[in-house]
């Protein structure tokens, strides 16, 4: 039973890892393009914006299992097969690209327009603004978005079992649910919970670490204040000893 779970773990990580990578590579430019082409954007192009927006919306509204079946022809031309882990990566990645793109769009929109203006005033072009302002300034949010995408992909990957890709979700469905091996199902779910928690934790940690240098006023000074208060509190007993003599 253990080799089965180990193989499933590896399959899940393999599928999710590759599809996340492809989703980030494809979704990041798409999300940025959604912001740039929007009304008032640096590359304002209302038609392009509407087209990209609609494509993203349609892709996002397809249930994953249908997307997977619909993409079979495309998958075959790319991987040469419609079965197995490699074949699952294609629909996973394509399903995740618009998902991540929307998250990127939201993150990039949050960047202060004044920063864009400052770089324009320095003589920077649009590419410079994307590279030096939009991406670095929204990096904490982008990492949080990538984390969300990974977690969503782990969920999608459970359905990849239908094309024989295996993975933890597939074990839970086929062995646990369909063969009534409740114990195995719970173990799989527990492993998934642990994996997802770890990914979320790592993502949060990275995002916060990056964010802290920006908004240092968040955690740093508050801690310092606390320490000062403690220091101020320390000599208090001494003062307290004298004070009662005066106050009554």
């Amino acid at each position: 039973m253990q080799p089965l779970l180990a193989q499933a773990c590896w399959d899940t990580l393999y599928m999710v890892g590759w599809s996340t990578l492809i989703a980030v590579v494809g979704g990041l430019p798409l999300g940025i393009l959604l912001v740039l082409t929007d009304r008032g954007g640096l590359l304002q192009n209302v038609v392009a914006n509407k087209v990209i927006g609609q494509v993203v919306n349609v892709a996002r509204s397809l249930p994953f299992i249908i997307l997977m079946v619909a993409l079979m022809g495309f998958t075959r031309t790319i991987t040469g097969t419609t079965i197995g882990v490699e074949a699952a990566i294609v629909p996973l990645a394509i399903g995740a690209i618009p998902f991540f793109a929307r998250l990127v769009e939201t993150a990039v929109r949050e960047v202060d327009g004044g920063l864009v203006e400052a770089v324009q005033a320095m003589g920077g072009n649009t590419w410079t603004i994307v590279r030096k302002v939009l991406v670095p300034e929204s990096l904490p949010s982008l990492i949080a978005s990538a984390t969300t995408t990974v977690v969503a992909l782990i969920g999608y990957s459970a359905m990849a079992g239908t094309v024989g890709a295996g993975g933890l979700g597939d074990i839970a469905i086929r062995y646990g649910y369909q063969r009534f091996e409740t114990g195995l199902m719970w173990i799989t779910v527990a492993i998934l919970a642990v994996v997802i928690s770890l990914i979320q934790l790592a993502g949060d940690y990275a995002a916060r670490g990056l964010h802290r240098r920006g908004a240092h006023s968040g955690a740093g000074p508050r801690l310092r204040l606390l320490r000062e208060r403690q220091r101020a509190a320390a000599p208090a007993p001494e003062a307290g000893k004298r004070e009662p003599a005066k106050t009554p």
Binding site: D112, G114, E117, A121, P136, L210, R213, G214, H216
Partner: protein, 346 residues
């Protein structure tokens, strides 16, 4: 150094048109600090943003350092290479600093140099030199969020100077700062103006800013320049709203038993104790009703409202004395007195 002619900016949104700039002619001389003052909504921000074409003017031209920027702009909304090169030679400082929070102070100052394609060693040398110039050499490794407002603006100024600009645009650079920090930032701007021969165009809604650093000023109202000139020229104009706002003096007007006179000081005459000389020479008692005197650009300028006993006719000689000293004298309320008399007769 900066010249705009017939600069017009009309914003269109949902069929409505808002004229932010209505034929602005501005001339900023090389090496001076020029202040544009006006209330919010007067078009100051549109004006300064049109100077480096962050905002495309609807009509009119902008010339900076002999280069017609409006001609470089091209038809589309995107800035072409030539315009971007021209912009890199114009520094700009913002009200909200606009520093990248993901970069350290030094990296923020290096950003314009990166855009100019300078090498790493050159960038860091120049950045440290500039940070030293604005007095922040010890904060090079800090992130903007760790700095105070005044320090952030110093970084903003260092960054604006990275491309060795001849012109610095300051968009309400001190409006988000407390009065003391405002003074230190203005002093820095003044020093840079002197040391580097930097031409500064600043916009502000605070009279104090104009008073403490500007050589010249212009007053904007509803998209137009209402008044403009050097501080001295403005002062010399008795009807100048800007001079009245810069050097406000109050007090009653002349009557039957007193003559109220506005004395405008500027240049050399301001350094002599004219009032006490007048008092001693003619043995008259002088009351000072109000005064506003300041050192602008190293020279004392200002206005004083004084009261001489007796009617205007009795004071012709002392007033002549003041005029001889090279002071500008405006006798207040003579017309008013005459009008009041007419009214009384009726």
């Amino acid at each position: 150094m900066i010249t705009t002619t017939g600069l017009t900016k009309v914003y269109r949104s949902r069929g409505r048109e808002v004229t932010a700039l209505d034929g602005v002619d501005l001339h900023v001389r090389e090496g001076e600090v020029f202040g544009v003052i006006g209330q919010s909504g007067a078009g100051k921000s549109s004006l300064i943003r049109c100077v480096n074409l962050l905002e495309r003017p609807t009509a009119g031209t902008v010339t900076v350092a002999g280069q017609d920027l409006t001609a470089l702009a091209g038809p589309g909304p995107r800035a072409g290479r030539e315009l971007r090169t021209a912009r890199s030679r114009i520094g700009m400082v913002f009200q909200h600093f606009n520093l990248l929070s993901s970069r350290t102070v030094q990296d923020n100052v290096e950003l314009p140099l990166e855009i100019l394609g300078k090498s790493g060693a050159e960038r860091s040398r120049k950045a440290l030199e500039l940070l030293d110039l604005v007095g922040l050499a010890d904060q090079a490794g800090a992130y903007p969020a760790q700095l105070s407002g005044g320090q952030k603006q110093r970084v903003g100024i260092a960054r604006a100077l990275a491309g060795d600009p001849k012109v610095l645009l300051s968009d309400e650079a001190t409006s988000a700062l407390d009065p003391e920090t405002t003074r230190s930032i203005l002093k820095l701007l003044r020093d840079l103006n002197r040391q580097l021969g930097l031409t500064v165009l600043l916009i502000t809604h605070e009279m104090d800013v104009v008073k403490s650093v500007c050589d010249s000023a212009a007053l904007m109202e509803r998209g137009r320049i209402v008044e403009s000139g050097t501080v001295g020229e403005l002062l010399a104009d008795p009807g100048s709203e800007l001079a009245a706002a810069l050097f406000p003096v109050t007090g009653a007007v002349s009557g039957d038993d007193r003559t109220v006179v506005d004395v405008t000081f500027q240049g050399e005459a301001a350094t002599r104790p004219v009032i006490s000389q007048l008092s001693r020479t003619y043995n008259i008692d002088i009351s000072i009703l109000g005064a506003a005197i300041d050192t602008v650009g190293g020279l004392q300028v200002g206005r004083m409202r004084i009261e001489l006993p007796g009617r205007y006719e009795d004071n012709v000689v002392p007033i002549g004395f003041l005029r001889e000293q090279g002071l500008q004298i405006d006798v207040l309320g003579r017309e008013d007195v005459a009008l009041a008399r007419e009214g009384a007769v009726k």
